[in-house]
Amino acid sequence: MFNQGSNNAPSPESVVPFFVFSAISWLVGLVFIAFHPNAVLNSAYFNETMLTITHILVLGFVTSVIFGALFQLLPVIFIQRIYSERLTKSIFYLLIFGTAGLSSSFYFGSNGVGLTLFGSLLNLAVILFVINVWKTIGNSQQNKVPRLFIKTSAVWLMLTAIAGLFLAINFLIPFLPFSHLELLKVHAHFGIIGWFIFLIIGVTSVLIPMFLLVHNLDQRPLKFAYFFLLFSLLLGVVSKLSGLEILLYTSYGLGIIGFIYYLNFMHVVYKTRLRRKLDFGLKKTMIAFPTLLIVLLASLLYLLGVKTDFHLSAFYIIVLLIGFVATLILGQFYKTLPFIVWLKIYKPFVGKEKTLLPKDLYNYTILKYQYYSHVSGFILFFGSLLLQLISLFYIGLGLLLVGAILFLINVMQIVLHKKQTL
């Protein structure tokens, strides 16, 4: 009758596994970095260990949680039931086997057969995901600009996966008419900017104002951000394939303007929020945004041709992934997973008896220490990359690892929660 978000929500069984797999992957990815620090400190595109770590993080940690969260949040944002729950379960198994297989194939020496096989599984997962997202959103008239971002991000994900599969096949049978390194760069940019950033902008532009109680926002900055980022990406691809450097600089310039429009939108949200006091989940979400300024600065330095002791483009990708995307995700976990589990366990008892609240499903002290260790960890981690200091690198990484362990403890506590009576 009311067509509310929680009425449309899929069953927790079809989304919670994505969250658990993501939390485990975050820890595993950091452990790999601890055992192979040179893969990150001396980042180069075709370093196999770096590719292993990158795929554990971008597929296992980020993409998994995005899939799970999106299947939960699409009904909220667009007030529609998810198109197919059965598809979400198939997508999960394809993603988990594809990620584990692809990462292992990289780790054990870029096995072309393994890369192609597991790359195909991931492509299938992506096709099913895109169908589920597009069919769910359909012609919903809710949140038009975020809808544009989310639908477009699904297309970029598809292109990322196809480019990845081409690279894998090229390992087996070289067929590309140009350098595979150029396609690798395109693959990375499709994934990071096209998939992650478009998706994150689409989702956060609805959810953050909802959590912070902000209404009647001017959507024009978001629209501008959309077009600047879209043209930036397209020009970037053309420049890589054509070798025209001027297009690459134009692409960076447009991208920077797009990010500025988005940051300006989020700044207005933050300044005009009714909810002044933020919980740790929201604090962690909000602290992710200033890291985008570091990304912008790194892009600007690259654009101006400034020479540095470290690989600027690799640095900006690491800051974007571990600084912005990871911090945002670790914060938003606490704004999604406890609610999913709470609705399943306590909704039948709401109003009939006193129940716990979603925030009671996890340990607040653990969250607090997770927050401090993660934030101090990534500051030291980035500092170590800038200064190329190995001791600082290990301290930063150690703190990130502590944060990841605390995070996993809290996630398991939420997932394994049993009903309690007050």
Binding site: F2, Q4, G5, S6, N7, A9, L73, P75, V76, I77, F78, I79, Q142, M210, F211, L213, H215, L274, R275, R276, K277, F339, W342, L343, K347, V350, G351, K352, L357, P358, K359
Partner: protein, 108 residues
């Protein structure tokens, strides 16, 4: 369970009872959030109609909050028939939050 006399139940009493319904995300009750627009009680049939809104359309906790309203009133006033009507006009704004609600949202 509280004993009550049907004749003595008032719209104001029901309105006050709704302070037991807490928004699970904001930890503030729906009355102080200004979500309850009207309480219309028919004493003869012992029906109550609650006109209320949510902080945003498609609020993920909306269904749970509506259920909480219905069940809380049925628990406090056994035999009452509750109808919750969601309305979006006027749309909810921060002006509707009580001083107490503001204080809670600001963490005081």
């Amino acid at each position: 369970m509280n004993k009550f006399n049907k004749e003595e139940v008032t719209e104001m009493a029901i309105y006050e009872s709704l302070k037991e319904v807490i928004d699970p995300e904001l930890y503030v009750n729906i009355v102080d959030l200004g979500l309850v627009y009207a309480v219309i009680l028919n004493k003869e049939t012992f029906n109550v109609k609650i006109e209320m809104t949510l902080t945003s359309q498609g609020c993920p906790m909306g269904d749970a909050i509506i259920q909480d309203v219905e069940e809380t009133l049925k628990r406090i006033y056994p035999g009452i028939d509750v109808l919750v009507v969601l309305v979006w006009e006027p749309s909810w704004s921060m002006d509707m939050v009580t001083d107490e609600g503001h204080a809670k949202l600001n963490g005081f």
